[in-house]
């Protein structure tokens, strides 16, 4: 098993010097930072609007409702969405590159004429993927926490950091899933470019198309501001109404659940309190409500680990040799 460590170290060294990977990660960090800045600006605008409204109401002798609470982690909504869309895309690129560069050059022949164990190559690549994303996700979430603290001028407590750590763990698993899916496809296809195509098509379908279908099937998303709001129906009545349409909602939910991205989003949004129904809910209660999302994500990720482990072998990689 020593060769797994050797392969992994080589991979980490190679990746740490890749300018393309560095640029992609800087880009991702910048985008997330930007999204927090914009969310902070948006919040301040809303607060200013509220203050103006409250002042006007007081001047007229009325008593305004309390100001909207700032839940700093809610500012991460767009940032998390970027992680699931752009981060997923970058994870595909990274995973594809791990095999494509070996196939593109003939380093595979140099490797496989050495006494490697049957799964050493796959083991080294998988271990490197796991470590790279661990480091990157820790760095990204450090950026996120700093952005919320500094740009959002928010205060974070111990619970908030714990919630961020849980979101980071989900993000780690999510990125590993995409990288290893792309790695598997690049291994299984004779031309690694075909693997990239398949991975990109899957990314498109899982990250964008399926959530889009689920989103546009949502009755509340049919008009700006929400269908129920336009009918002046509150949240409780909305829920009661929708119980009459359980089969439609179940179907819509099923469509969304087939997307690992949606599983990731639901769990992370719940822990960060982005979805108002989970906001400020104790962590145990969030787990009770969303454990199936976390477990499905984990299961999908474990599946891709197994697929990468079993598919990235001498037989599949060397099929193209004359």
């Amino acid at each position: 098993m020593a060769e797994v460590g050797v392969l992994c170290r080589k991979e980490l060294k190679d990746l740490s010097r890749s300018r393309a990977i560095a640029m992609l990660l800087v880009f991702l960090s910048a985008v997330i930072l930007l999204s927090v800045l914009v969310a902070a600006a948006d919040y301040r605008v809303k607060l200013a609007e509220y203050t103006a409204y409250a002042d006007a109401l007081k001047a007229a002798g009325g008593s305004p409702t309390p100001p909207p609470n700032l839940f700093p982690l809610q500012m991460l909504r767009a940032g998390i969405e970027y992680l699931e869309i752009v981060g997923g895309l970058f994870a595909v690129i990274l995973g594809y590159g791990l095999v494509a560069k070996e196939k593109g050059s003939n380093t595979l022949q140099l490797l496989f004429t050495r006494p490697l164990g049957r799964h050493a190559f796959a083991g080294g690549k998988i271990l490197a993927t796991v470590i790279v994303w661990l480091v990157v996700v820790v760095a990204l979430f450090a950026v996120i926490a700093l952005a919320v603290l500094l740009a959002g001028r928010a205060q974070l407590g111990g619970q908030d950091f714990l919630r961020l750590a849980i979101a980071a763990a989900h993000t780690w698993v999510y990125f590993i899933m995409w990288s290893l899916l792309a790695l598997t496809l690049a291994s299984l296809t004779r031309q690694p470019a075909s693997g990239l195509v398949l991975a990109l098509v899957l990314w498109l379908v899982i990250v964008l198309v399926i959530p889009q279908i689920g989103d546009t099937m949502d009755p509340d998303n049919q008009i700006p501001g929400g269908f129920f709001a336009s009918l002046q129906i509150d949240r409780t009545n909305e829920k009661a109404l929708l119980t009459h349409f359980a089969s439609y909602e179940t179907g819509r939910d099923f469509v969304e659940q087939t997307s690992a991205t949606k599983q990731y989003e639901r769990a992370v949004f719940a822990y960060l309190g982005v979805k108002s129904q989970y906001n400020q809910m104790p962590l145990g209660a969030v787990w009770d409500a969303t454990s199936h999302n976390s477990l499905w994500l984990l299961g999908t990720s474990v599946f891709t680990v197994a697929a990468a482990f079993l598919s990235t072998t001498r037989e599949t990689l060397l099929r193209k040799l004359p």
Binding site: A41, E49, S194, T216, D218, P219, L241, F245
Partner: protein
Amino acid sequence: MSVWVATIRQETVAARRERLPQFLLVVFMAMIAASAFIGSAAKGTVTEVYQEAVREGLTSAPNPFTTISPLYYARNTVIYIILIAALLAIVIGAQSTLRDRRARTIDLVLSRDVPPVKYLAAKLAGTGLLLLFILAVAALVNIACIAVAIGSFPTPAQAARILALFGVAWLFLIPFVTLGMLNGIRCATATSGLLLPIVVWSIVIFILPLLGTAAHPVSLLNPVSKSAPAESRFFELTSALTGPLSLGEQFKSTTALILEDPQAAGTAEGGLLVILGFFIAACLALLMAGPNHMRRELHG
């Protein structure tokens, strides 16, 4: 004239035989066909929800969906054009120039009496025609599926509007073709030739709108436009800067007007001008920046 004909013919044949565009084309056509049925399912449910709400006395507001035109069922198409067809356009464009560099056939072409600008223009014309054909078929599929979903054919005026949507889509997609072509010419490796334009696409579609309107990326996947951002100097400034560059949002708002979306406000001229501006700038950029680099060696 023979350079044009030969190049256009070669371009369309080669692009048709590549696997990556084929995959994306299948996904695109499948989603175009499905979009009418998705819209139909959503509309049916919303109507039932409204009737139930009225029955239970929860609302006295008028049903916002009483007079839904068949064009309503085409609105998801707009999203699939932004998501899938734009990627398809990038891939077709990038493969077009990468193909020449990968096989070094560009040396064989340019060692003949073929001006590089003319060759590149002919390649763009070839991919443009192929895309036009794809969109024409998609339009017909879209109209046919809407007819099946609602049980009757759209009126000629409505069909014309759907065709106009796909016409604007062609203008919207050509800049992505040229982006792919230009990057295919200048990139160091085939992989970066494909991936860099995809990153640019993700910026244009998902990041620029956030700066201008604080719109969340996933909400941009919904054909219903996000409400205008809260009024502030910050968003006035960012919106003024990024609004015209948010090609995807411009396309969404323009096509919402073409499809007579009741929620769409304003006129289509502004959006159309932006799309046309991008179209012209992208073609010029390709023809000005491309020819000098076409023979660069491709690594990996």
